[in-house]
Symmetry: C2
Subunit: 193 residues, 2 copies
DNA sequence: TGTACATCAGTGAACGCGCGTTCACTGATGTAC
DNA sequence: TGTACATCAGTGAACGCGCGTTCACTGATGTAC
């Protein structure tokens, strides 16, 4: 059957959103295309009307995740009291909420390790995405020059993503909370100076 | 044919070592048992004389990787001048060598994200392994109490693993070096106080 | 000491399953006339 | 305005492949006698 003009684009966006969640919570190999399509009450055959390959979807999906986490960190900063923006960013990133919700969380802490093993194409999409994230977040990070702020933001975000990844792998709730708490304190203190 | 008494154990250890390297460089899904066994000039059928399942091997393999990285960091500390131990640990972890050699590198920066998606059994092996690593490395980290030193070590190692994972995913060599360098400077400075 | 049998690490074919991808088909709506 | 045809998002069976796991078999050496 023939669909209204914007129908196709709408479906495409729904696929990206659903995929982005699934990839972040299960990894790219843990999320099958037929399951993705089932999420949207579609069948797997139609997938290839929208994307050339699973890898193409993967790339778009984590790009979308990068925008989502940037929006979220910026929202946290903007609603915090003047001067507390960076602290708010750190506490949002290293929150228990973020730890427990990988599906809507930062792609860096969910997918970096497998992206390192993906194709050059995927890795360059990753590089572009993370650079944009850094640019957007760096305005809350102190530093004499733009360059210095970007550098510090890179260290901060990669460091926090490591803490979050480890926390998610720990089965013991207490140990997980202690790591997150320790990391929050550490980065807030170390980044303020 | 029947083999000498210690033959079986020897083969088992060879499998663990080969698997440990392969898993760290390709992930657990990227390393097939038949390839692992081929590395040792054996066939895949014999694998199950040594391990109950691939998951069991995976667990032993990353445990082995944890010991390896601990040995390496301690060796770096021990051969550094008095008072420079922590700096040596940080610079060894965040070295370009370590970045380029995931196969013999730290399992945290190679496998944590997928371990978070593995079974509780695997995650508890991970927890035990990382705790041992922290205990061994914490003696070079300043802090008033053992507890404080462990905490700081956890933040440090998880943070460095994040920087290393991101660096490995970046396709651009310059950006990778800058991140590693920035992280080295940051952690050396922040951890000394 | 010699003989018959047991052992068991390793072999390689086979099984079963999941999954990415392809493809002939459907059928409601748009377009040409 | 009405009719014939084209379009194309979505369907679902089928294909091909990789891979974890199983299993009957091999054959050199150890053990029982």
């Amino acid at each position: 059957m023939r669909y209204p003009a914007q129908h196709k684009q709408h479906t495409r966006e729904r696929i990206v959103r659903a995929a982005s969640r699934r990839f972040r919570s299960r990894g790219s190999e843990g999320a099958a295309i037929s399951d993705l399509m089932k999420d949207l009450r579609l069948t797997h055959g139609g997938f290839y009307r929208h994307f050339e390959s699973k890898e193409d979807l993967f790339n778009e999906a984590f790009e979308h995740g990068f925008q989502q986490i940037a929006d979220r960190l910026i929202a946290a900063a903007e609603k915090s009291p003047k001067g507390g923006e960076l602290k708010a960013v750190i506490e949002a990133y290293l929150s228990l909420d973020h730890c427990e919700d990988a599906a809507d969380g930062c792609p860096v802490s969910a997918l970096t390790q497998e992206i390192a093993r993906h194709s050059p194409r995927t890795r360059s999409v990753f590089q572009r995405s993370i650079r944009e994230l850094l640019v957007r977040v760096s305005r809350y990070v102190p530093g004499a020059t733009e360059d210095e702020r970007l550098r510090k933001t890179g260290v901060l975000l990669s460091g926090m993503s490591g803490a979050l990844s480890v926390a998610r792998a720990l089965p013991d709730d207490r140990m997980r909370r202690r790591l997150l708490e320790g990391a929050r304190e550490f980065y807030v203190k170390a980044m303020m100076t």
